[in-house]
């Protein structure tokens, strides 16, 4: 009997999230984390940012990027804990905490994005 598991889906989320994190996160983190707060580049004014953030296409793209990043991070962190700390015996607890965090984060992302719009 072959057992069906969710593991392939989790790996799929991990790898698509890895692509999203590699493509989008460096530039966004550089702009919003360093260049704008430190005044290296004049930050966009509120109206412009609000207009960009409330465009339906932006909402969809940001939501997809955030959710995939969260599942990517959850999956990778899960295995970091297994290998780094050698706590494979706690695997259910670790999995629940990691993916649970990603699910909560996804719900929060949807909520925040809809309140900006």
């Amino acid at each position: 009997m072959t057992r069906r598991t969710v593991e392939p889906i989790l790996w799929l989320l991990f790898s698509s999230g890895g692509v999203m994190a590699a493509l989008f996160v460096p530039v966004l983190l550089f702009l919003f984390g360093l260049a704008f707060p430190l005044g290296w580049i004049t930050p966009p004014d509120h109206d412009h940012l609000q207009a960009v953030a409330s465009h339906p296409l932006t909402i969809i793209v940001v939501f997809v990027v955030f959710v995939l990043c969260l599942f990517h991070a959850a999956h990778r962190f899960r295995y970091t804990l297994y290998d780094g700390l050698q706590i494979k015996h706690l695997k259910e607890l670790v999995a629940v905490l990691c993916y649970g965090g990603a699910i909560v984060g996804s719900a929060l992302s949807a909520y925040v994005l809809l309140t900006v719009a």
């Binding site: 530039v27 984390g33 509120h46 925040v112």
Partner: protein, 139 residues
Amino acid sequence: MSGHPAYTEFHPRWYRRQMSTWWWLGKRAYLVFILRELSSVFVAWFVVFGLLMLRAVGQGDGQYQRFLDWAASPWVVVVNVVALLFVLLHAITWFNLAPKAMVVRLRGQRVPGSLVAASQYAGWVVLSAFVIWLLVGAG
């Protein structure tokens, strides 16, 4: 033969060497592996930071300015510098690994890995330039 060995899901417990928790400090390749894996923490931090930013934007100009001031405070800057380094480590290792994991064929010929990697880097540059233009240029 007497008795039944206890069933284990994994390999039988004949002999297992105890590994130190710090096994990954011994060799450069192991250290880079663990650092790359730890980039996950900073990817998650980026999402939290982005959500705080978006919430501030949604609450109006005053909150947005306050967010920028908070983001300029020393500890947040330090976290974001570290996070950026880790995310860059993730991006570079990811792009370099992809051609090994994925075989691209064009007219029956295998596209060389260096070309696959180069096209990813090109896409990365174009996308980053577009994001900067969208946020800063298209005022």
